[in-house]
Symmetry: C2
Subunit: 447 residues, 2 copies
């Protein structure tokens, strides 16, 4: 016999066991339902893309994290695994947008791969769940993005969460005003670290990396750290720009104000959307509204759904200018949060079925599968225990371990009278009912 | 400006555009629902596995088709992309079965990758959709596998399909009887080609590759080609073995008979399940019941859902013997068939939403999103057109091109009276209704 190979997942990769996978399917299904309810349509792209499509999108550091893929017979790699869903979408849009037409709203869900050092909650394969509207600069789409995020987390059974928004135009306006527009990239990179390293260190870094004066760094930080209720923050910013009006800043303020008004009209709870001028998302390509989503009871894990507006999605592949706005749900981070918060979708149940039909008599398998099919037709998931040889007590133990709600049994006595025993496993209550009443009896328990 | 990179997918890879993707989501969702209705529970494993886990499972030819994956900094590949969902499941089972317990029923869905020459309907990335019951040799699970396949294709809106079944034990019994047990592998490989190359060439190949006599080849082919109604075939086979009884063959016959009886009791339509002694599936590891599924109107594309019983899933990774049975839905082949058969799920519609709210007046965006949210709460998917600047005619054209069923509009006159216009786009009928009646009006059209 050959030596056994140790069964294992690679470092940074993981299996989903049933309890967590059931929750993940519920999360993905919910996201799909919410995205669809706004008219976002599904697309999918391959896991592998040509290397020239992938490379150079996020700088050298990012390129180093791309997994290279080749066929056995190929000497050199010409393809790699996607590291996000945005680059493939950009390539997809450039290729198909004339057929699809604009505006175009899509969602996409799937794993992405990054060769990073694995750590607590950080994997080399993880799922993203993106939605975007492209081909329009309309603020209606920016506003809708916030509404989708609100509906999404509500549907995910969270009530304590906050959508933080900002608009890059405010900062860009300020930088323009101060003659610092060219230093936007290093300034924003430093500013992005504010919650992690604090004001003082960010200021130091700005002086060092962006070659600004301490006073200039202070002005940027003052704007970013403007706090208070939404209307107050916007009033302060408006006052800030009153002396020297700036078109960009004015447009940013107008867009944020309109977002708040519409959200209120639609009935988004007060306090759900919070203007936070310090968020800027490190990525260079965001140019307008920016979104981050925090779980109030677990702010430490960071944003679980982020995004923003960009001026041009696919400039690497097409001359057609495709502005857009969108956000991405970090599925694995969210599930880690759900585990920590003991979210009700993580029940410990490992079966998707509610009913176990006990396999008491091998010659009655047809009847067991028949009653199961009657329940299935009524929308109830039912497992027939596979082995008639197992003692009934063992079959009940199996049912309880996996989290079935009910057991349905019948032996010779029941078959003689055409009845079934229906047992509520949690309450340990058993009723004997005629076959025609089994569905109603079961449905009364699972509701 | 840098040169543009041509947006393209790699050879053998493809994008899913909305019309096909909407159908694929419906297929996956249906499979998920049916598998769950029998108590199969979801699991997921990574796309990448360690090479020693992947290699040597299907012979050298198979190894050559594995995509190798490495990080930029790694010199040598130590991992590859999975080429099916069975090998990862075997590794998974060996690793986790003690925690999960047996019997264990799982489903898994996802892409797999094979570096094969691409062709008509043959891709290098394609989706599989597997379900398996492991940890039991019970025929109840073999029978259930056929019931699942029947429910699956019924739920997929097919009525003309046939599940062909066989049991390897019949052929193995015959080979044992004739002293040919050791030549089973080459004999089955040849037999597998029967529908493609015909009896004569298979017989020739058996003589050449399996070193049997022409008479022996003829006996194997006679058994395989036994035709007729199910009961007649089984009677003939029983008669065939009557002179020299064989335990394996007897068990194979018993299992097939029981399957047919239970299927009838459960109400599987007559003729749906067909005993076909010629199917044997090239793969060496099937040892019992075998399944193939053919679409009656498109037999040429081959089986769209295949599987079988195996004696031991994970012998490469664990000493624990894990017998099981399962089948795999070939999602991409099925979708190709749906396209060819003009299946009703491929409607040409490219939006998942039924209603477009026309964006007539930019200052009324809050109202448009509000009526949309009322409809969403009632389970209707609604898109608000993103741009108020677009002419109403253009917005209607957009709605018709994408396949929206209804348009909801309101301008100053309607807002004044708190009414909405609801237009059935197919019938070109428009009604003006008070806000409280919009949901009912819309639901009457989409049903």
């Amino acid at each position: 016999m050959a030596d056994l190979i140790t069964p294992r997942t690679l470092s940074g990769f993981r299996d989903y066991l049933p309890d967590v996978m059931l929750a993940r399917e519920k999360v993905l299904d919910t996201a799909r339902r919410v995205y669809r309810s706004y008219g976002f349509t599904p697309i999918d792209t391959p896991a592998c893309e040509s290397l020239d499509v992938l490379l150079g999108k996020g700088g050298d550091e990012s390129d180093k994290r791309i997994y290279l893929v080749r066929m056995v017979e190929a000497k050199k790699e010409e393809m790699g695994l996607r590291f996000d869903l945005t680059v493939p979408f950009a390539r997809f849009a450039a290729q198909h947008i004339n057929q699809l037409g604009t505006p175009f709203k899509r969602y996409a869900m799937g794993p992405v791969w990054r060769g990073e050092r694995p750590g607590q909650g950080r994997y080399r394969e993880f799922w993203q769940c993106d939605f975007d509207t492209i081909g329009t600069t309309s603020n209606a789409s920016d506003i809708e993005t916030a509404l989708v995020v609100n509906d999404l987390f509500t549907a995910l059974n969270f009530d304590k969460f906050e959508i933080r928004i900002n608009n890059r135009l405010l900062l860009n306006g300020l930088l323009e005003l101060k003659g610092l527009a060219e230093r936007a990239v290093p300034l924003l990179r430093s500013l992005d670290k504010l919650p992690k390293i604090g004001r003082e260190k960010v200021a130091e870094e700005m002086v060092k990396e962006a070659a600004v004066t301490a006073e200039q760094a202070g002005t940027v930080l003052d704007l970013a750290e403007t706090t208070g209720p939404n209307s107050e923050v916007l009033d302060k910013v408006e006052a800030f720009f009153a002396a020297s009006p700036n078109d960009k800043a004015a447009e940013g303020i107008r867009r944020l104000r309109e977002l708040l008004v519409v959200a209120e009209t639609v009935g988004v709870p007060e306090g759900r959307i919070k203007i936070d001028l310090s968020i800027c998302r490190g990525l260079d390509y965001y140019t307008g509204t920016i979104y981050e989503t925090f779980l109030t009871d677990l702010p430490g894990i960071g944003s679980v759904c982020s995004g923003g507006r960009y001026d041009n999605l696919a400039s690497k592949y097409t001359k057609q200018v495709l502005p857009g706005v969108g956000a991405s749900l970090g599925v694995d981070r969210l599930i880690a949060a759900m585990e920590e918060l003991k979210h009700p979708w993580l029940t410990g149940q490992t079966t998707p079925a509610q009913v176990l039909v006990v396999n008491f008599d091998a010659t009655r398998l047809g009847d067991y599968q028949r009653i199961a099919s009657v329940l299935r037709a009524a929308g109830v998931s039912v497992e027939v225990y596979p082995e008639a040889g197992k003692k009934v007590g063992q079959q009940f133990a199996y049912a309880e371990k996996r989290g079935f709600k009910l057991a349905v049994t019948a032996g010779p006595a029941e078959f003689e009278q055409s009845v079934w025993k229906v047992k509520d496993l949690a309450k340990r209550e058993e009723a004997t009912v005629p076959e025609a009443e089994v569905v109603a009896k079961v449905k009364a328990v699972i509701k």
